[in-house]
Amino acid sequence: MCFDVKRLYALALGPVLMLMSLVSTGVWASESERSTVNMTAGVTEVGQQIYDLHMLILWICTIIGLLVFGVMFYSIYAHRKSKGAKASSFHESTSVEIAWTVVPFLILIVMAVPATKTLIEVYSFDDADLDIMVTGYQWKWKYEYLTDEGERVSFFSNLRTPQSEIGNTEAKGEHYLLEVDEPLVIPVNAKVRFLLTANDVIHSWWVPELAVKKDAIPGFINEAWTRPLKEGIYRGQCAELCGKDHGFMPIVVNVVSQEEYQTWLATKQGEAAQVKELMAQTFTLDELVERGKGVYERSCLACHGAKGEGGVGKAIAASAIATGEISGHLDVSIDGVPGTAMQAFGGQLNDVDMAAVITYQRNAFGNNMGDLVQPIDVFNHKKG
């Protein structure tokens, strides 16, 4: 973590040299490690095109900069009063003005042509092999595989870095802040289309190596696509300020071989089918309370407190809703309370977990309602 002496030298040599060091270090960018000073070309064709454009413009700017600053520094050196320079009196020239209006304009056209081509490429969403719905939540991502066959696979992807590392009581791991409990898995060499939206505020899904950054906006569905050409684990972060934990909602994409992807998908579909089976079951009060305790601790405790005493959220202990009609409790938990931090959990928890957590809330913290909610009740309630 100590200073890299070479970099400090580069700094001391001033901006122009730094631009050059940036360019030269960019060369090792294309190898395995991601550069720490330059844009990555990533693992897609579009990413390579973007990188090439970036370098082209960087070079054009560097050259123009060297020329302009060169003239300026020459004049600072040669035309100083202390060297006896006398000021000349020229102060306009229409032909010069026209020249330095037209020439930059032509240079801009040279830049605009490849930029337009790349942009159109970025916007070619058709013929995707796989569609994935990406939904931004405060502060996690939800992925949903829009496959035609089998169970729909969908899951949340949360930050995995423990609080102790963030709070500096434990040494930080290699992928500090860039690790999740469940990564997105996609096959290599396939055109994957992302459909992006958000549940609360605007987020932005950014994975530099896949050359994708697109805002996830509530009420809108945006499109983006990638075709990774190399297997590997690619990491990114939310790029749009989305509230308190904006810095703590990373993205990890696992690009695997086609076969590996199929196996993974089959397993996930199997799990989904299992949950579906559970949904059809009837549980006892104890079973629900036990499962519900786990769900509460994962999803509700942060706002409602370990003893149901409240905090950001209202108290659950002796709450009129948690000790009132079941349907009211279902309403709040499934649809949330618009305009407050109480989100609509209907889309985040499956029906079994929802039934369990509501049952738990009604029978914990001194709420002794003794009643219980079955998954089927949640299902029916959602249907309206």
């Binding site: 700094l11 901006p15 940036l22 720490t36 990555t40 973007i50 970036h54 960087l58 700017c61 900069g65 302009v68 600053f69 300026m72 004049s75 600072i76 035309h79 100083r80 202390s82 320079a85 000021a87 000349s88 009196s89 020229f90 102060h91 306009e92 830049m111 605009a112 930029a115 942009l119 159109i120 970025v122 590392e165 963030i166 709070g167 500090y176 802040l177 605007i202 932005s204 530099p208 050359a211 805002d215 906006i217 509530p218 809108f220 945006n222 499109e223 990491r235 972060q237 939310c238 790029a239 749009e240 300020l241 509230g243 308190k244 934990d245 810095g247 703590f248 618009p338 305009g339 931090a341």
Partner: protein
């Protein structure tokens, strides 16, 4: 008010009731410096937290309040009022007018500011904390998900909008009506020209900002859904409205700075400004273009490809008049007779660093590449090169340049040079590495970061502290000059200086040009 030859009133009443452009100018300048220190303190908190990975000093929620308040205070409290202060002091003296055209409105437009910013600062102590959605305050994070203090923030923005609009109407009225006979438009100093154009920009876009925050207010309190998708509204609409204000706003910030360096570079080159006419036309075309490029801040919101192309081309075009300006400044220096007093050093610093910021701006304009740059530290580096090294450097230059005229005392040149060099080194150490971390994938507005960004963030923090310390030196130098600087009574402080402001006595008397001066 019958007697025009009286001096200022005594004591506090002088400052509260004054209608004198010099008094009001000074108050604007002091106020903006106070805001600069406040905004700087927020920045120091941000950089201290980012010195190392991990959370050390502040909570993420408070960190967001700091970035938000830093941006708001710097843009609306430090940069904008400082240039209005400069306009107050210099425009009447440059065009041979006795005062601003609307002196009482002038007083009011200043006195609206302090309460407005006190209110904004108070939000830090309110339940739920200060606004936390960034200086761009995108909905719905700034509406549905905002702390209750957002209402005070909205009120505060309204007030400073009113202040800015009054200030700019005053400038327009002054420039159009109070020029000394013979001072035709094409003879006006460039600082006056750039401010005239800026004032029109302000009058055009401050109401748009007011509209945006009013819609927020309605969404928060009156059940409308302008920006809430759940009620049929459109969060992207907010961004369009905001940036329709926001992009011209960045030129509101930089055009007066262009004006300042266009005064200073000729003075220390002892040579007339090269291409005066084209400077005026370039300023006007930048102002025009600034209205049709706003969505370059929104390349990733999912606009149709035709929209992306339009905004990309239009943004690239801005580089042309901007380039013309840079070329003209360099050519002004060419074959001049250069000296390097502090104002000139800051102007050269401006020239180099602003040009770098212009280059990164051009890079950001390339829509497909912006997908990688957007909302990363690369953008943070870009706008600090144009706003700090552009606007603030030129402001420092302006103070050193005109301070002797204002107070009849010379600043300490050695300390001025030191201020420049420490600022220059600190600034680059702080912001150049941000290009690297941005390109390498560090998003902006995060309180904590992955380990590969550590080295550059440390450098950046150290640079920021150095830059911050240099400003204390500046404050000391200015106060020392006013209190005990070497007295000077030369009308022309600088050998190469041209313009009416250098024909009045030094220090500039309380009332100048009570009868219009002759204009060559």
């Amino acid at each position: 008010m019958g007697d025009h030859h009286h001096g200022p009133a005594k004591g506090l009443t002088r400052w509260i009731t004054t209608t004198n452009h010099k008094d009001i100018g000074s108050m604007y300048l002091w106020f903006s410096f106070a805001m600069f220190i406040l905004g700087g303190a927020f920045a120091m908190i941000i950089r201290a937290e980012l010195f190392q990975p991990g959370l050390q000093l502040v909570e993420p929620g408070f960190f967001n309040q700091m970035t938000t308040m830093h941006g708001l205070v710097m843009v609306f409290g430090a940069i904008m009022p400082s240039f209005v202060g400069l306009a107050n002091w210099m425009i009447p003296m440059m065009i041979g007018a006795p005062d601003m055209a609307l002196p009482r409105m002038n007083n009011l437009s200043f006195w609206i500011l302090p309460p407005s910013f006190i209110m904004l600062a108070c939000t830090l102590f309110m339940d739920g904390g200060a606004p936390q959605a960034g200086w761009t305050f995108y909905a719905p994070l700034s509406t549905t998900y905002a702390p209750p203090s957002v209402t005070f923030f909205i009120f505060s923005v309204h007030l400073l909008g009113v202040s800015s609009i009054m200030g700019s109407i005053n400038i327009i009225a002054t420039v159009m009506n109070l020029r000394a006979p013979g001072m035709t438009y094409m003879k006006m100093p460039l600082f006056v020209w750039t401010w005239l154009i800026t004032a029109f920009l302000l009058v055009a876009v401050m109401p748009v900002l007011a509209g945006a925050v009013t819609m927020m207010l309605m969404d928060v309190h009156f059940g409308t859904s302008f920006f809430s998708a759940a009620g049929g509204g459109d969060p992207v609409l907010f961004q369009h409205v905001f940036w329709f204000f926001g992009h011209p706003e960045v030129y509101i910030i930089i055009l007066p700075a262009f004006g300042v360096v266009s005064q200073i570079i000729p003075t220390f080159s002892r040579k007339r400004l090269f291409g005066y006419d084209s400077m005026v036309y370039a300023t006007a075309s930048i102002a025009f273009l600034s209205f049709i490029v706003w969505a370059h801040h929104m390349f990733t919101v999912g606009m149709p490809v035709a929209g992306e192309l339009f905004f990309m081309y239009a943004t690239m075009l801005i580089a042309v008049p901007t380039g013309v300006k840079v070329f003209n400044w360099v050519t002004t220096m060419w074959r001049g007779s250069l000296t390097f007093e502090t104002p000139m050093m800051f102007s050269i610093g401006f020239l180099i660093l602003f040009t770098i910021g212009g280059f990164t701006g051009l890079m950001l304009a390339i829509a497909p590449v912006d997908f990688q740059y957007h909302d990363s530290y690369f953008v943070v580096a870009h706008f600090h090169y144009v706003m700090v090294a552009g606007a603030i450097f030129s402001m420092s230059a302006a103070i050193y340049y005109w301070l002797p005229k204002w107070c009849g005392r010379m600043y300490n040149e050695k300390m001025g040079q030191l201020h420049f060099w420490v600022s220059f080194v600190g600034f680059n150490l702080a912001f150049f590495p941000q290009h690297f971390v941005g390109l390498a994938g560090m998003p902006r507005r995060i309180p904590d970061y992955a380990l590969q960004f550590t080295d550059f963030n440390m450098m950046s923090s150290i640079g920021a502290f150095i830059y911050g310390a240099a400003q204390i030196l500046f404050l000391y130098n200015v106060i020392a000059t006013i209190v005990s600087g070497k007295p000077t009574s030369e009308e022309k402080t600088w050998e190469g200086a041209e313009g009416l402001e250098w024909t009045v006595a030094t220090p500039a008397p309380y009332h100048t040009f009570e009868t219009p001066p002759p204009v060559k």
